[in-house]
Subunit: 477 residues, 2 copies
């Protein structure tokens, strides 16, 4: 009997749904006939009952089968009656489109976390729930007369939030700007997306750090961009590499995450910053500075952004509340010349009509509130504590199998696995043992690295998580 | 002396900024020299002072000039010093990108509303502020322990909202579905965007109503789609037209807004609905049903969606809170086969990482709350009242210059101007006289129509707004 293929790229339930649809169309199950119960089919196919439930739901949504409580699941008479009727071939539609799907590793990680929420999660690049300012936000939201205007808002972003950000940027990031130069986006992510869609054209060459977060974003390829690598050493990228990429490939833009870089945790060296800005101004080349992590600086003195010393306006600056407050708020911002802000705001109006005013109001209040500074201090202490727990656990569990630089800020630790190891096997084995992290190849690096987001698991989970990881690693070596 | 060109496509302040930049680079203003004061330059150029302020801000953000309070605005020494330094040519970047800008008429309308908030606004396709459930939402937001989880959420949407929507769709729209088949988006707009980006490929042909909202969305062209028209008569589109478009152009999808269509206010005839679904299933053709207006039915009995009688699953159904509650919440949804939902959720994760959980929580509570039904009843009464005020005003002010069908639901009235008229002149003259509406050509129709959104102005503004419009119309005939 047919069994779904666990190694194929398609999910089990889709394979099952397709199989049943074929069997129906071939007459194995005539119109109106009863299908096997979910439990029985699950047994036959050797899958979870929930997988069969999903397969049946899919077929039901396509009108191919019908379920009535009490009388089981039957082949739909209408669909399979006299006249030939065709459900659109949805699978073919989902395989079309110019926008590329996420990397297989990232989809696998998402699926694993969905299937087993008890996994110790070193993979999700975000804060643990108890590090977010939940109480503070609750409190701000409960204030009266909060939502006074609820119409389509300026697609550039809610005015009071842009005004709060002018002060925030000055006070915390040394950036002088005006509200006309600020665009509010759904996290840094949407800023990056808008830049790739609206300022760059298919075929354009851009430079990105290697390794970097940007490698995990097929959105760059979806926009038809050609990516060139800027290798990162312990001082960050080398500015002269930009010059040579420009000469060779006429790169149009440089994407940089200079402070506690994702995934390496590194900070771009001060001298290189000056040089980088010199090269940019010499070449008239825009730099996109993605700066979500700075305020997590464990010693309380965040590195200042390129934008704060950008003499002639080469830098598009991107910030976000995701890594310093709450990623679920989806509040990010870009500082850019007004012409750029206008172009992006105009485009995003067609994409989503702007960000909901509700979280923008919350964010605006939060940044101005007396909660913000103490929240940051608490956050830094906790991150430092968790970082140290992770380092301790790695030293204890894997004393001579790993090596790493110690990050001074941010959420991640970039860990080299010294012996040779297969990324895929290691990930699957880790999942099987109850822990999950991101294989380094997602970030464009050679295999043999993993990214641990120590901000995400609870302090109690950090040690046991690494014990599980160590067992997984040893078992696949 | 040079003056900015008011008829050029570029904004005045940009023209001024470019001019000054040129004059600096040509040595007219040497490094360190003082520029004219904002007031003086405004006088010289015959523009508002605020325009010059914006031009200077732009140049400041580019590092080209510097202002210090008390000592005026000077040409930056650093930028124009010894070494040649180049700010990126931001204007060229904003003209690149594969995503097309909004239609000129729509940008003009946005700009006019921004410049003069006192305009009587028949243009913004949304509810007046006092028709939104602001108090109710305030109340729901003030409930305690509201925001318990604030991490990256499932990109498919917040679970409790999807569950609330399962009940809502069953009770109000006759649609049976499960939360696995629901995708939450930033309004209907983002559902449409995701479909065009992820399910269709450049070069694909699609059919849209003529006139329709979709014509106002360059996003269709940005995705490289070829658009074919389905003319709308008083019963809506003709299903046989779909068959012939399919034969001729192999259309891949049909976009329909069957209930109180934007802009015509028409409802697709019952028999045609059945025929339409027959054609779709005969051809295996997907129908996108955009259904934001139904619950505004003035008599309280909304037309049911195609999706509720879709026997084999041809329909992707889209809904939204924008037109029945508040557009600034940015909460919309799509009902689709799970495979489609997964594909779109995966893509949107890269675009914006999903919708903020805060408005999703609010929306979920609101739909389940005892406020929802009374809100709808109040909304319908007010819309009917405003519609009647508009009709009365049109009869009074323009008895023999206009004709229109009377909408039974929705926010808009589609008004034919009987004598020949120039869209552009009429719009500019209306703005000059303090009222704004959308020229019909935005929706792909021949000129000679306008769309009045009577839901947007206050009841007190409706009569005076039409009086201004009538004066504008007569003056351009
Ligand atoms: C470097 C970097 N940029 C951008 C993002 C996107 O974050 P958000 O959209 O939540 O601000 C991330 C998230 O992991 C990141 O690490
Ligand atoms: C027919 C139609 N579809 C979609 C939209 C987008 O609305 P939203 O994204 O606010 O739900 C509109 C708004 O005018 C509309 O009229």
């Amino acid at each position: 009997m047919w069994k779904p293929d666990r190694l194929s790229g398609r999910t089990l339930y889709q394979q099952i749904a397709d199989d049943i649809e074929q069997r129906i169309s071939y007459g194995e199950f005539p119109p109106g006939s009863l299908l096997p119960s979910e439990r029985k089919l699950a047994e036959q196919l050797g899958v979870n009952r929930s997988t069969v439930i999903l397969a049946y739901a899919e077929l039901r949504s396509l009108g191919i089968i019908e379920s009535r409580s009490g009388s089981g699941t039957r082949v739909s008479k209408y669909k399979w009656g006299a006249t030939p009727r065709h459900t659109p071939n949805w699978h073919r539609y989902t395989e079309g489109g110019s926008f590329l799907p996420n990397l297989p590793f990232l989809r696998r990680i998402r699926e694993a976390l969905r299937q087993n929420p008890a996994l110790i999660d070193y993979a999700s690049g975000e804060l643990a729930g108890d590090l977010a300012p939940v109480e503070e936000i609750n409190h701000l939201m409960s204030e009266k007369h909060y939502t006074s205007y609820l119409g389509y808002d300026n697609p550039q972003g809610y005015n009071p939030l842009r005004e709060s950000l002018v002060s925030y940027l000055k006070q915390y990031r040394g950036i002088q700007t005006t509200d006309a130069s600020i665009l509010i986006t759904s996290g840094s992510q949407q800023s990056l997306y808008l830049i790739t869609q609206c300022l760059l054209s298919p075929g354009d060459a851009v430079a990105i750090e290697d390794p970097s977060y940007y490698y995990s974003l097929p959105m760059f390829q979806s926009a038809g961009l050609r990516l060139f690598r800027l290798p990162v050493d312990d001082k960050g990228v080398r500015p002269e590499d930009i010059r040579s990429l420009y000469k060779k490939h006429r790169i149009k833009m440089v994407f940089i995450n200079p402070n506690y870089q994702n995934p390496t945790g590194l900070v771009l060296d001060d001298e290189r910053r000056i040089e980088l800005l010199d090269v940019a101004s010499e070449l008239g080349l825009p730099i996109v500075e993605d700066d979500p992590f700075s305020l997590t600086a464990y010693d309380g003195t965040p590195p200042m952004p390129l934008k704060s010393i950008d003499p002639i306006g080469s830098v598009l600056y991107i910030g976000s509340l995701s890594k310093i407050a709450a990623s679920g708020l989806r509040v990010g911002w870009m500082v850019a010349p007004h012409a750029v802000v206008e172009r992006l705001a105009d485009a995003r109006q067609q994409m989503d009509f702007g960000l909901s005013v509700v979280p923008q109001k919350v964010a605006s209040q939060f940044l101005k509130s007396p909660y913000f500074q103490p929240h940051l201090e608490r956050l830094r202490m906790h991150l430092l504590y968790k970082r140290d727990l992770l380092i301790e656990a790695l030293h204890k569990e894997l004393p001579d199998l790993v090596s790493f630089a110690i990050p001074q800020g941010g959420l991640h630790l970039w860990c080299k696995i010294i012996p040779e190891v297969n990324d895929n096997k290691l990930l699957e084995e880790a999942i099987r043992r109850g822990v999950i992290m991101v294989p380094g190849s997602v970030y464009g690096s050679d295999s043999g690295y993993v990214r641990f987001t120590f901000a995400r698991p609870s302090a109690e989970e950090i040690g046991p998580g690494i014990a599980k990881f160590a067992a997984a690693l040893r078992s696949v070596l």
